[in-house]
Symmetry: C2
Subunit: 354 residues, 2 copies
DNA sequence: GTGAAAGCGCTAACAG
DNA sequence: CTGTTAGCGCTTTCAC
């Protein structure tokens, strides 16, 4: 393979304009101390010559790499891709994150890391050493993985923690899990539901707990009991099936169920069907995440939409700001989630008791 | 921001073992001229110190960048992401391409380029100058965009052309569009269908034509006429709707329709419903692509599955091989596609005529 | 087989 | 305000 060299370098530009490399460098990086007139001439030459700085060289000389790593959990991500169930988490991250990166001349690289591996740190350090990214975006469940978080803190790389509320290190961004769970609960209560079941997500994800909290808060607000109405799950279809079956076969079963993700909501739909319950007439269902499938179920599912793109976009902004020396923003950023109304919720039937 | 430097460099390793930088470099790159015993000691030190070469530095000194660019059409990709219809093209590319990259120590960067822009070349050149990738994967419709192809050929960067059959420059890889269209057609013919309609894809994509070719070939084989059974489309739902309506309202309409992508198949389903036709009893439908949604339509759609992951994986292999100086493989690589049987195809009804 | 020297394209630090 | 100098970490020559 022929050794490929930069076609046009800072040198060419400098020679063309008749200034030093430094001046060109200053113009590129929008630094002060260049006369407007000169700056303009340099910019003209850059455009005319089609000069684009080499990221590798910029990184080498100790400046930015213009690279942001988006760290996702290896097993879960690959499983989602293989399953082809329409889970578009990565797409939404790219939509929000990558486009925001592009606005600032950055690139986003998706990196998969096994959160359970005993050498997470080594994997991470290797990626950092190889790429020298300017920032890292952690997604659940990495966002609260102490090994990863500590490792990054030591490296002094700005990092955003999506789905985390820990503000000890890094920049936490939550999608308002608690608030949106409460919203869903209130929405059901307003329709007359008194017994609202809740299927929790994997305990490994902190957001699972917040969703439960939101439900409990709203239930308490409405003066409703949660006794026996909470069932654990782990985000898988199978766990949703077990939970839904347990909830729907109990004495005085719930008339509405909130599932902590789409797969478990899908399972709930199926269990209801098997039990001869019509959705939404006999059972209202609300799911979390709102992946594309939710528009194609029978009936279409009312769901809490996770603002993944907006969150990823915000994460990139925070990183770039931190990188500019504006210091990491360690207060929690909350991106609001919304309830998408579809066809899986109906008013509760009139109770027989007076 | 503190100027971040490599924690452990080739220098540390060299000093640790007591050899020159050169020797360490040779070991890293698996080059000859290092005694096995020495090589082992160096490798041990690398592992112990946790040394990982800096990609930026490697690129700087004229070697590989270990970066592969996956070029997708900006508008279409963003539209798909925004629509949240479950189109998982990018995911499947990552699944196949990124994992294959990882096997070889490469990274894949997704890059969006507007194929219609009059400065495609400038955009492309800018990405190349900035990233200095070792190879580029072109996806439709970029794969046959003469501006892009010529530009890359001049840059002497190995590039794969997914969905192309042009072997003039670059490495073409097709997903057997013609063959799989023929497969679908034969599958329907074997079930007694004599009038099989075909909705073509956007003319801008060469593969649209190949799919038509495959259909025509198989129809001819079976001694069936294609007269009036071909209708243009452009991959959008709206165009599928128009085409399906035209086909189904003609005199002696088709009893089966093959749509060149999922959106148009979805539209066909809807038009059939509007026309009071039951699928599959009155009309059989086969779609192309097999995005996740196809499992959730009513009925589930029988579809030709596009082996995107396998294709992307192959593209990465070709690039890495070419990069190693094994020279570009310019013969067409064909990745076989398969027909996924679901519920949208039934035997043709007995014709009334004896 | 192994090592020393030079330089990739850029920026930080310092002079002027 | 502008230019000069000295590397960043690595690989390529080219000696030995």
């Amino acid at each position: 393979m022929a050794r490929r060299r930069q076609a046009v370098t800072i040198r060419h530009v400098a020679a063309d304009v008749g200034v030093s490399l430094q001046t060109v460098s200053r113009v590129i990086n929008n630094e002060p101390n260049v006369r407007p007139e000169l700056k303009e001439r340099v910019q003209e030459a850059i455009a005319r010559l089609g000069y684009v700085p080499s990221i590798a060289a910029q990184r080498m000389s100790g400046s930015r790499s213009y690279l942001i790593l988006a760290l996702n959990d290896r097993d879960r991500t690959i499983a989602d891709w293989r399953a082809r169930q329409g889970t578009d988490w990565v797409d939404q991250m790219l939509l929000g994150g990558m486009l925001k990166c592009a606005e600032h001349g950055y690139r986003m690289i998706v990196e998969l890391v096994d959160t359970h591996s005993d050498h997470v740190e080594r994997e991470l350090l290797a990626a950092i050493a190889a790429l020298q990214p300017d920032g890292i975006i952690l997604t659940p469940p990495h966002s609260d993985n102490p090994l990863i978080v500590r490792c990054l803190a030591e490296q002094k790389i700005p990092f955003a923690r999506i789905g985390s509320k820990e503000d000890d290190v890094g920049m936490p961004i939550s999608m308002d899990d608690e608030g949106s769970a409460a919203t869903a609960t209130r929405y059901l209560a307003a329709r007359g539901h008194r017994r609202i079941g809740f299927i929790a997500g994997a305990a490994e994800y902190n957001l699972s707990g917040w969703r439960v909290d939101g439900w409990q808060t709203a239930m308490a607000e409405a003066g409703l009991s949660t006794q026996g109405l909470l069932h654990p799950g782990d985000f898988t279809y199978a766990s949703g099936e077990r939970a839904a079956r347990a909830l729907l076969t109990m004495d005085s079963p719930p008339t509405a169920i909130i599932a902590s993700n789409d797969q478990m909501a899908l399972a709930t739909l199926e269990v209801a069907r098997a039990l001869g319950l019509n959705v939404p007439e006999d059972l209202s269902v609300i799911s979390f995440d709102n992946t594309p499938l939710m528009q194609f179920t029978q009936p279409q599912l009312t769901a809490i939409d996770q603002p993944i793109a907006a969150t990823a976009s915000k994460a990139v902004e925070l990183i770039i700001a931190a990188q500019k020396g504006e210091g990491p923003i360690d207060e929690l950023t909350v991106i609001p989630a919304t309830l998408v109304e579809r066809g899986s919720v109906a008013d509760a039937k009139q109770t027989v008791s007076a």
